[in-house]
């Protein structure tokens, strides 16, 4: 029963290969798909299946995240009964800090009415019917269910993600590994786990007190082989946001109807923070082709195969091709950009020419609004 479930989003995610977008924020609050943030997808999946109690456990750099989720209103999580709970690191331990954060906030987990937990991360972007996963988990009678995506692109996508060895006949987990990109086929762990609350509590205590535990997620993978673990194969679209190039490709994939129709469905909408921007104005003389554009923009120049965020001003004679432009950006006259990712609040000066390529898109980092 979905009513007996709560959700915990653990944002202790590997940022090593996406540093230029995470200097001011966790992966969870990187803008994605023109008007969303990475975390919007898993949060919307959770509320769309009917779960009303969500705890987000985040790191120290969480200003952007807490600003984005706020009281949880956009996801209908500003509730008297249950709702959204956000926990930040206070003291920074270098190892295993997420286990300690979970342990320190154990009262939240104890107090929640739910007997079962969905534990998830944010960087596996998808539009998933979690109710179906819950049914499969309950039917299996297993201690734990873990969701995976079977891929034939493991040599280029999902790098450094955990992989699962699965018994074909029983769907039971045999072992875990990491995708180091040597083979094309792999079962990628989507880091969505279902279990009894008691089991989660046990794992948190064990991990927090285990001197060898590096992080809660790594501890779970070590412990899983000792449990009766059922696996759930997810057949939908999964975009993995853990490197600059996967971030770039994920945005570009949203330009294709095959991906966008699956991610953005009217029966399971993706919710995000409301910014009350006016509609976008396309001025006479602009040329826009195959692009995803948010509200609040004024477009005068040329835009092709690009993803444009909220409040972007694109002036005359600008040429933008294969770019990802985040929010609140002005691109002055005559600028020419191709394969560039521009983070928030940047002014691109008149006549600037910037060029990256498919494998190494150029990242212009976020500009601070203060000096």
């Amino acid at each position: 029963m979905i009513k007996d479930y709560m959700a915990i989003i653990n944002l202790d995610e590997n940022e090593n290969d996406i540093r230029s977008l995470t200097t001011n924020r966790p992966i969870a609050s990187i803008p994605l798909g023109s008007r969303y943030r990475v975390i919007d997808f898993i949060l919307s999946n959770i509320v769309n299946c009917g779960i009303q109690n969500v705890g987000i456990f985040s790191g120290t750099n969480s200003r952007s995240l807490t600003d984005h989720v706020g009281t949880g209103k956009a996801w209908d999580l500003n509730r008297k009964i249950d709702g959204l709970f956000v926990f930040n690191h206070g003291l920074c331990d270098f190892v295993n800090h997420d286990s300690k954060l979970l342990k320190n906030n154990m009262e939240y987990i104890y107090r929640s009415h739910s007997d079962n937990v969905i534990l998830a991360s944010s960087y596996m972007v998808c539009n998933m019917d979690l109710a179906d996963v819950v049914h499969a988990h309950e039917a299996s009678g297993a201690d734990m269910t873990v969701v995976y995506k079977s891929t034939d692109e493991a040599d280029s996508e999902f790098l450094n993600c955990y992989t699962l060895d699965i018994d074909d006949k029983t769907n039971r987990l045999l072992g875990v590994g990491k995708n180091i990109g040597f083979s094309q086929n792999a079962n990628i762990c989507m880091e969505i786990f279902l279990m009894k609350k008691e089991k989660l509590v046990e794992l948190i205590y064990k991990s927090a007190h285990n001197l060898d535990s590096k992080s809660f997620i790594s501890f779970i993978f070590n412990e899983m082989v000792n449990l009766n673990v059922n696996t759930y194969k997810y057949d939908g679209i999964v975009l993995c946001i853990n490197t600059i190039s996967s971030y770039y490709r994920s945005n570009m994939k949203m330009l294709t109807p095959e991906v966008s129709d699956k991610l953005f469905r009217s029966d399971r909408p993706i919710y995000t923070k409301i910014k009350d921007e006016p509609p976008t104005l396309y001025v006479k003389g602009c040329e826009v082709e195959n692009s995803l554009i948010a509200d609040g923009c004024i477009i005068r120049g040329k835009v092709k195969n690009s993803v444009i965020g909220r409040y972007v001003d694109i002036e005359d004679d600008v040429e933008i091709e294969n770019c990802i432009i985040l929010q609140n950006i002005r691109i002055h006259k005559g600028a020419k950009l191709s394969h560039v990712i521009i983070d928030k609040n940047v002014d691109i000066e008149e006549g600037t020419e910037l060029k990256g390529n498919e494998t190494f898109p150029l990242v212009i980092e976020k500009k601070n609004l203060f000096k």
């Binding site: 008007r35 953005f264 009350d276 006016p278 001025v283 602009c286 195959n290 995803l292 554009i293």
Partner: protein, 381 residues
């Protein structure tokens, strides 16, 4: 309960019958406007941006869409512990009940609401107008001039002055006389239907007006003239900026074309005085490979493969390949399939125009009612 400095009362009960199909399902303030808004969003956002946190909405004609849109007023920050938004429909009492007989009667019937907040001033607004205005400046003008009532006025061309209520003022802006739709206007200062009253005066005149059997219970026709007759100080507050009463289908269409004109002073796209609205969760707009957009406005959830010229489309609109839409307004969730030509039209919500169709002759405004399906002309051949 704490006293409120100024409470706003928004008159939103009008039918707007000259808007035809646009107001068949909803009151005029609820009519969609400007790509993602409804007309009342302008008055509500002006209140929110002016720091007013207590608003009464007087509803009467078909209020369901309006009520659903406003809810508890969250988009405008009106979900308050003290104050906030209240919809005020006509109600029954021990001795029967009455519809709102006029603008003044609507406020009179809700004097209890105002008494609860014991405001210093009351701002009376119409929910029908498109404009951006800081009511704080008007209140300052009201207080500084020591007026009993202040009426916002806008300079209109002399040729159009006989369509409005005209204020004749002295050089200090004090109103000397008021004429409703005069044949030979003496001035060009038209009332915008925005009033600030010192609450005690307003209460006194509303009670007196209610006792007058011959009164039409209207602010313009009764309250203002009787205040003038009694020598109260009425002051005009000049407003410079865009202001439009979208009273007819023609003016509704024109107001949209105003939004698209490069030197428009609606400043809808300016960021410093936001207009808030209630929105659904939708992805960003997708502009296809062969789309052409010329001087047009597009918003969330739209998918555009065809051409949009001088047009405004609302959330969730689909425009198919080889389709050309010119000088038109397409409302929420309407689907325009491939190979369609639409000119000078207003297509309401949830319309489906199948492929191979032509709508509008480019001269008169064509209006297509909501939920209609326009069958493909190709199939009939």
């Amino acid at each position: 309960m704490a006293k409120k400095n100024m409470v706003a009362m928004i008159l939103a009960g009008g039918q707007g019958s000259r808007l035809g199909l646009l107001t068949k399902q909803m009151a005029k303030p609820a009519v969609p406007f400007g790509g993602k808004y409804r007309i009342i969003d302008f008055a509500l956002s002006n209140c929110c941006n002016s720091g007013i946190d207590t608003v009464g909405i007087l509803t009467q004609y078909k209020p369901q869409v309006l009520n659903a849109h406003i809810g508890i007023g969250t988009p405008w920050d009106f979900d308050r512990v003290h104050g906030g938004i209240a919809t005020l429909p006509p109600y029954m009492t021990e001795v029967g009940g009455d519809w709102y007989k006029g603008t003044a009667n609507a406020i009179y019937q809700n004097l209890n609401f105002l008494e609860g907040y014991n405001p210093g001033y009351v701002l009376i607004l119409s929910g029908d107008h498109i404009y951006k205005m800081d009511y704080r400046k008007m209140l300052k003008h009201h207080i500084d001039s020591g007026a009993d009532a202040t009426i916002a006025v806008i300079d209109v061309p002399l040729s159009e002055a006989s369509r409005f209520g005209i204020m004749n003022t002295n050089e200090d802006g004090v109103i000397e006389s008021f004429e409703e739709k005069p044949a030979n206007p003496k001035s060009t200062l038209a009332s915008m239907g925005i009033y600030i009253f010192t609450y005690d005066k307003l209460k006194k005149y509303l009670i007196a007006d209610a006792e007058d059997k011959d009164s039409e219970n209207d602010f313009g026709k009764n309250i203002i003239p009787s205040m003038l007759n009694n020598g109260e100080k009425l002051v005009a507050y000049s407003f410079n900026g865009y202001w439009k009463d979208v009273g007819t289908v023609d003016s509704y269409w024109e107001a949209h074309m105003d939004l698209l004109s490069p030197d428009n002073d609606v400043e809808l796209f300016a960021n410093d005085w936001k207009i808030y609205t209630s929105t659904e969760a939708r992805p960003s707009q997708y502009i296809g490979p062969d789309a052409r957009l010329e001087n047009s406005v597009v918003t969330e959830g739209c998918v555009i493969y065809g051409q949009l010229i001088n047009s405004i489309v609302f959330p969730g609109v689909y425009v198919g390949k080889n389709t050309r839409i010119e000088n038109s307004i397409i409302m929420e969730n309407s689907v325009i399939e491939d190979n369609v030509i639409i000119s000078k039209s207003i297509i309401l919500e949830n319309v489906k125009v199948e492929a191979h169709n032509a709508i509008g002759n480019g001269k008169d405004i064509a209006v297509i009612d909501s939920n209609k399906v326009i069958l493909s002309q190709a199939k009939m051949d």
